[in-house]
Symmetry: C4
Subunit: 232 residues, 4 copies
């Protein structure tokens, strides 16, 4: 009944180890079916080499299991709240990829230093502050979603222009129009995190990319007159 959605979610999950973004089970991908109001997500703690498409769990936007016999990812409530609140996203990824985690642990936004970054988003990649004690001791994974919204609200970011975020002392979440695009964004984030790290090691006084160059690259790929790619 949910086989296509399960397979999409499975394929996207299996990209994580191929792209070097996860060690053991440190990550999960979900894919949504907007028509049915459910999403598919990786079961908790199942190694990628054992994972099968039929193991993928189906849950609704309140994180209630609709189909599947395994326990869904422990981060399911965060995924659920993001799907519920942001109607335009089709997939979500959470990883503990090394360089993104390092920035998250350092508690810093990733500054926009170059066109590799500007090709994907025109702002620093935000690091949402650690949740308050109340949020952590309450409905933690649900509140994690709220903390992302808090961060985006304060910085005036939209989920369409910024498809990635760091949670302080934790790690990254990314999303996109499809689960495949969300995985793509996870790999891009890891590379941007690595490049920014190296840049500051070489020159701690590096300035951000100038505005004209920043917007030129963003617009040539994402603007109304975009000419990158095949226009499809």
């Amino acid at each position: 009944m949910y086989q296509t959605l399960q397979e999409e979610c499975y394929e996207a999950n299996m990209q994580l180890p191929k792209l070097g973004l996860v060690l053991f089970t440190f990550g999960n991908v979900s894919a949504v079916d907007r028509d049915r109001g459910v999403f598919a997500i990786k079961p908790s703690g199942v190694p990628y080499e054992q994972l099968q498409a039929r193991d993928i769990i189906i849950v609704d936007y309140d994180a209630k299991v609709v189909a599947g016999s395994l326990r869904p990812s422990s981060d399911t409530k965060t995924h659920a709240l993001l799907y519920k609140t942001w109607p335009g996203i089709g997939g979500i990824v959470h990883t503990h990829s090394t360089y993104a985690v390092a920035w998250a642990q350092a508690g810093l936004d990733i500054p926009i230093f170059g066109t590799t970054h500007a090709d994907h988003t025109h702002q620093d990649i935000p690091c949402a502050p650690a949740l308050t004690d109340e949020m952590i001791q309450g409905d933690y994974e649900h509140e994690t979603g709220h903390q992302i919204f808090n961060c985006f609200g304060e910085k005036g970011l939209t989920y369409g222009e910024m498809e990635m975020v760091l949670l302080q002392n934790h790690g990254p979440f990314t999303w996109g129009k499809t689960a495949e695009k969300a995985v793509y964004n996870s790999a891009v984030l890891e590379e941007l995190a690595r490049m920014a790290y190296l840049t500051l090691q070489i020159n701690p006084d590096t300035h951000r990319i100038k505005d004209t160059l920043r917007m030129k690259h963003y617009e040539r790929k994402h603007g109304t007159n975009a000419y990158y790619g095949q226009g499809c």
Copy 2:
């Protein structure tokens, strides 16, 4: 007679090169059989590509060879003392994995900066001081075990909650309920060491993860109400 134990030990050893944790012969894994009071360990200096299950040596808790024609790992006495003293462990791993060794050489505990760390243990990963001259010139590998106990005693750590340690100027030992889990812990330690390294390069003033978040992540995976994984 010890074929099952040898094969468990062999399989665990062969994970080390696959996980990128050893160069040449710089590591060893042992697996214990509590019923018979013996453990299986890699022979000393045998390359992984030549290793066979039947080469695995069987020794008792005093490090005396019970079965096998090759010389056991030069670190056998350390393994023996850990098995003798800590009844709950089923496997032990020693490697010279790069980032863990770097922290050991720097002589510093690995600070707990994030949830990747807290998912596995709720304390800094301790670096036991180098052995005294007397210990080194005495029964060195046996004393290495005692130095681990000294360190755990001073810091009030238990082997169940902290399944990894660094020896100053040397490298890591890890353990677990099974040899497979001990290998898993070696890979986790290497990744935590790498993440902590990068974190301090980005922000030398990084604070440890806050207590609520630290314990939340530890408890959701290891506490009485744990809900990570499939509960088995």
Copy 3:
């Protein structure tokens, strides 16, 4: 009609992921046919695993498409101007390889610290300043070529002796007598960037290689009495 040129360009493009120089579609290679006055270039935004030789686009030195149904790389005008201006080059590569980008983002020339560098060129690898706002808002990719010429003019470099450049806040371009050689240069640049990075981390006061050693290594490979290689 352009099948040989397309295949040469295709083969060179496929080397980029093999050499670890590109993530997803972050790079492109072109190969020129001097007799016909056209060059072949990768189509924009097509993943390497889907790329086929017949997808390669043929364009002239004014970046007008001569053959092919897909849109050529968004960087085509930069390639075109380099081919038009520098008659001796046969191939061009643009990547966002990690360490080269880090130096470009830091806005610094890569200092010539050793013989690995001097085996390939006898000068620092230049970082051309970011384009002016007018250049960016004008014919950006065409002006990128001019900015490379500006940089080479100011530093007195020739394209024969220096086959690589960084664009500030962007990344590297390399070229060579063939597309294959240009790809080789991209990999060499990435390694030189990494070595120089590590060198300065170890010793921030490192001096450049002394002149005699610098020119000895350059001349033994590229001078009139060169004796490196098989002389063909």
Copy 4:
């Protein structure tokens, strides 16, 4: 006539790319036949993927070609002088491996920080100063050998206890009783260089390993009562 020697040399050369120690042709291995007074060495500038055992060149201790139609490595005279002067070595390796080059470019000895290092040698790995202008402009590759001897003489090192050296602004040479052991030493050196680099990044004030621990590890592997390995 030299087929066995050529094959030994070929096999050892092919280990370099497998161990990640060379990019393109940046390295060479030689293997000596002491009975005949000749050694086999890689031809200059031949890519590893094209190299065949029959391409390997045979030269004498004065670097004169005895057999083979290709030009030998441009570093042949350095190999020749080392074989001529040090009767106990059976193989030599030169690479431009990344971390070893970084230390060479930084112009610093690699400090002995841990047991991984002490398992292989009990001293810092020396960095020989750059050759004088006279040496560089004279018989450069021959003088490179002399510079290694100068360095070992000044530091009181023997080639049996220290099987590796860095040349300032250049890179590493290693040797051993066989070509295979020399390759092993190249990989060990690269790992020690990386570990020492990371150690100083974590703690710039790191002290060298204490003497007792240093000699304990060296002796347990190399001393008269060594008990590491299988004693063969």
